[in-house]
Amino acid sequence: MNIYDFKSLTDSIHTSLSVNLSPSAVTIIEFIIIAFAFMMLFTLLGLILVYAERKIAAFFQLRLGPMRVGKWGIAQTAADAIKLILKEPLVTKNADKFLFNLAPFIIILSTFMALGAMPFAKGLHALDFDIGILYLTAVSSLGVIGILIAGWSSDNKYSLIGAMRSGAQVVSYELSVGLSLLTVVVLAGSLQFSEIIASQEAGWWIFRGHIPALIAFTIFMIAGTAETNRGPFDLPEAESELTAGFHTEYSGLKFAFFFLAEFVNMFIIAGIGATVFLGGWMPFHIGNWEGFNRIMDFIPSLFWFFGKVAFLIFLMMWFKWTFPRLRIDQLLRLEWKYLLPINLVNILFMAFIVLMGWHF
């Protein structure tokens, strides 16, 4: 039993609103609150993650990173955001203006919808579909359409190459993300996030599913990094080859949206990974150790969730700031000749373990 349950909080808001308002008005107000909360979360996440990336990258590289705006440069990304809003939006001469402006909408839409299904803490989630994982994998890959549109409509050859690379890459790695998640679904027996988390009451799947879960987690991290177009898979925006890739022609706020989407996508991938493999907001529990589990429960579930996500994001940043970039054909070879076959075998392996009841 978790002592920090947000269900009571949301319920109390609901009842207090219902006292003197009609049910439909309550729904509308609740929706506005949710929408506002997610908008805030969205921008806040972007700002924090960009700052974190800069600082972490700096420390990897023996640098100090941003230090000027605020103490330890804490307001640097906010300053950058303001700067980007005040920048002139440029459109190239022969660009397809409608698609050019549409692309940021699509890319934000995909991240926003994916963010909605994140279970942040017990009882704190906006959407809890019974097909949660399917929904997330479907929605998070919508972003590639935005990238393709952005690259194609810019009338820039660098953008075009970047978009084409992105298309082939994201679409391929989508498979591995889905299959590695399925490995755990076999164990959990549900696609719903709340149930998957609940099924990890006695321990996180990454520990309980032993080898196949570990393999699936590794594949998920690789494929997830690739899906967010981050290094070493940042081919669509490989700056040493394509200057800035698919968003070469974007400036000001439109560029900021792509930038933001990349970082929020990273959060989403880390969030899915944390939820499915590391128990989401579920504290660190070990089987029947009642005392130990009780102590762990005292740490609020929000901390558990964001702690795990932060760890996975740090891991992804570690990848980016260590490895060289792959080439497009090597990238696809990695997916089709390594990750996919391993994944298929791994699912069978997992199913066999479940069948035999060998998991913990």
Binding site: I85, E88, K93, G116, L160, A168, F257
Partner: protein, 116 residues
Amino acid sequence: MDKTALILFVISAIAIVGIGMIFSWIVAPKSKNAVKEEPYECGIPTKGTSFIQFRVGYYLFVIIFLIFDVETVFIFPWAVVMKSMGMTAFIEIVIFFVILGLGLLYAWKKNALKWD
């Protein structure tokens, strides 16, 4: 509830981009000139158009993906019920995977997974 919430998310996503773009359009300076509208190609005027017939290799991967993604969708319901169904489900999926694996092997041997 969930469906309406989903629509809510779509609306708020569009709103956040729309409001941002309108706001930026109001506050940002605008000064047009011909050079600014040139596509960036390292400071040199472009040669030829960018709307070209691109190499087919990229699209072929998308086609292979399509095939495999449909298969993955079939695995989703199986994964949910695997635990409760037991042996039958396992045997069925082994057969399914063998066929899928043969498909992958075929594509592999046909060099469809090879770039150029």
